[in-house]
Symmetry: C2
Subunit: 501 residues, 2 copies
Amino acid sequence: MEAKLNALKARLLEVNDLGSANAVLGWDQATYMPPGGAEARARQMSTLARLTHEKFTDAAVGHLLDDLRPYADSLPADSDDAALIRVTWRDYQRFVRVPSDFVAETANHTGLTYDVWTRARPANDFESVRPLLEKTLDLSRRFSGFFPGYEHLADPHIDLSDEGMKASTVRALFGELRNALVPLVQAITSQPPVDNSAVLQRYPEAEQLAFGLSVIRDYGYDFERGRQDKTHHPFMTKFSLGDVRITTRVQENDLTDALFSTLHEAGHAMYEQGIRRDYEGTPLADGTSAGVHESQSRLWENIVGRSRPFWEHYFPKLQAAFPQQLGDVSLETFYRAINKVQRSLIRTDADEVTYNLHVMLRFDLELDLLDGKLEMRHLPDAWHDRYRSDLGITAPDDRDGVLQDVHWYGGTIGGAFQGDTLGNILSAQFYDAATQAHPAIKDEIGQGKFDTLHGWLRENVYQHGRKYTASELVERTTGGPMRIEPYIAYLRMKYGELYNV
Amino acid sequence: MEAKLNALKARLLEVNDLGSANAVLGWDQATYMPPGGAEARARQMSTLARLTHEKFTDAAVGHLLDDLRPYADSLPADSDDAALIRVTWRDYQRFVRVPSDFVAETANHTGLTYDVWTRARPANDFESVRPLLEKTLDLSRRFSGFFPGYEHLADPHIDLSDEGMKASTVRALFGELRNALVPLVQAITSQPPVDNSAVLQRYPEAEQLAFGLSVIRDYGYDFERGRQDKTHHPFMTKFSLGDVRITTRVQENDLTDALFSTLHEAGHAMYEQGIRRDYEGTPLADGTSAGVHESQSRLWENIVGRSRPFWEHYFPKLQAAFPQQLGDVSLETFYRAINKVQRSLIRTDADEVTYNLHVMLRFDLELDLLDGKLEMRHLPDAWHDRYRSDLGITAPDDRDGVLQDVHWYGGTIGGAFQGDTLGNILSAQFYDAATQAHPAIKDEIGQGKFDTLHGWLRENVYQHGRKYTASELVERTTGGPMRIEPYIAYLRMKYGELYNV
């Protein structure tokens, strides 16, 4: 069995190398590639995606897994090898249904679509990318077709990023959350608006980037195994456990965009950097679900990075970096500015309270597109309509409407957004568990120290990679299933205090 | 036959995509990769190299080529398809002899060696990289072993970069060149030394880079299809005909390093950017030999970029960029400074007259290493000895000795350097042919105009890619075989005037 396990690991390493190479191509496409490279790059990424898929779904892998599964069952429940065989088998069952040509076609198409989107958004030109997005929708439906038996066309997509979830469970959860959020949003937004002009002054790019990097260095993001570059849309990407990179974008007239996206992506990256090194090159060396991944980005961005103790420590440093802009601004004014709750247009810049409304409407639109209730040519208007009804505000154009998020333009339609809200819910649940285990964490944050929190997360979440599913991990770590109560309690406590509601 | 040709092209495109992906990984390794990524990156590049090789040397490719060769012979002599089949068949015959595992081992080894070299050079620590270089030598010998019948172990390596050449022909040519150069070097260096302190002042990095980019924009380097980044050692790399990048390094206490390496790499890049777009994704879409490639880098760096008319146009612009450093410097002083002939230590910074002495000694050392006359542990001393005997000067350390060039540390030993001198020879021969066809070229250079020269080179050299071998191309373009006379005449004319010799 050891020989077969080693044969499996060798093949998985090759698959991993091809996938990682493709990630490098994607990073370069988003960071430094000149315009002339776009067409060939889409093709190259398609070729690598097809080869990766072919290598992984090869019948030889299936035979190895068939032979190894009884062996996995004979191993102790907590065995890494057993987890590797189990996780690989689940992936195999999923990917073997999808033809390699389809994978290549999708990769090539999304590469070209991403390229068009990078120009369509600044030009406010949805029509230029619409025909491509029509094909994305078609590909997304065809993908679901490989998994007959789903309740909703979105289910195979959702299951791919948040294993075990489906449209109906997400909808139920979102309904429950909406019931709690809507009154809170109404109570807050009936208050006089907070003055956040302090963060909307001119902040030079270089100093913005330097400050963000100084914070995530304190967080424990390892620059020996990572770096930050600029892109249209911030993201985290991994080429190996020794090379986990983040990107950001900078608005010189808004301090918050680059700063909080940096804290956000660093949260994703610390998760990946914290995975056990001996999982390198295997399917275990990844975050376990979109929701758990997002719980880490949102935890470091919001629960830590938008908290009062955090800024008690960092605001003097920020004032020192921007004396002209912030020298006369009080901590309280700044703290209120970065936590201003408002009905706004851009998801990534949204406050914690309204954020989930942005996610939920995207989720609903995805479902409507997939099941044909919404035609693509009506998507921009449907977007505006939902913003009007859910947030009481409408974008003046599609740039800040349907063109704002990269997800559909660089991937598939379906499963792209629910992880964001699952992540918010889990972020509070994990943070509660961490502070119950180590009450000192809250004081440490006020001193710019994050070792205990980061250590607890590494020990309980990061190191395991995909060894446990999201629900197994939540159970192990918090003693129960996913619950929205800690998240609701967190929001009510924080924003109740801020807004006296 | 058309179906078979299309099948061949489809396979070649896949091979090309994999090779291009590997080039992206190599570029990233040299530009932005954090240190923690090195180990996995070497493995990833090795995996891609092996797959590329497997895909290309697959028996199916051989069968297609066997079927297509008679068809190629039936096509007109100048047919692109015939050239494609011919060139691919030659590559196939060569690569099919080399096992894929060997390719993977070499790629992994050179990736790790490059990483160690980047630290060994600044630390002046040859010993840290020596064991790796021993293995490089072993791999280089084993490579030659796949091509029995060679006269010298270096021949298969030389043939790989400069098809049709071998150690004995290069040696004969170099002997002839040395006989012409040594008296010239002696005559010049017996003159009082030129004062080049003007270029050795402090020049801030950003302004250096901006000036270099402005010149190559005038040359016609296409930034829509390329970009420049910084690396330890300057290079050009191509990911597609739409994405041809260059790199440079900057010394703030020497204006010439970044500037002339930028002109040099732009020459390489314009060659690749000028290849016919319909060759994209085939073996034809490459420079035809190391020598012809280097002829373009040296032509744009030296024959154009170090010429008096060039600086009559650009020196006022350079003075405007660096008024404090150059405001009081005369054109003549500057022109002499950048053409100062001296017995120096660094090949890439060497003047045109002594440059080839740097190349020749490396070529000899490669041959001695390969045939065992020189042991690796004695290489640093052998290096110093040859500099003493050939150039009358010795580096104080290995950093500016045997560690100075990346070639052996990022590739194989053998065939790495002869192309540099072949390129010098050909640069003058091509330039002569261009100016005979268009005498106005010389005047245009004095006006900062390069369209006629660039156009002639694109028409006669660049567009053809590998359609013609180096010797076919030289014959077509200059009406005869490679000759050293134009190059010697160029050096005697230019440096005779400069030094009154």
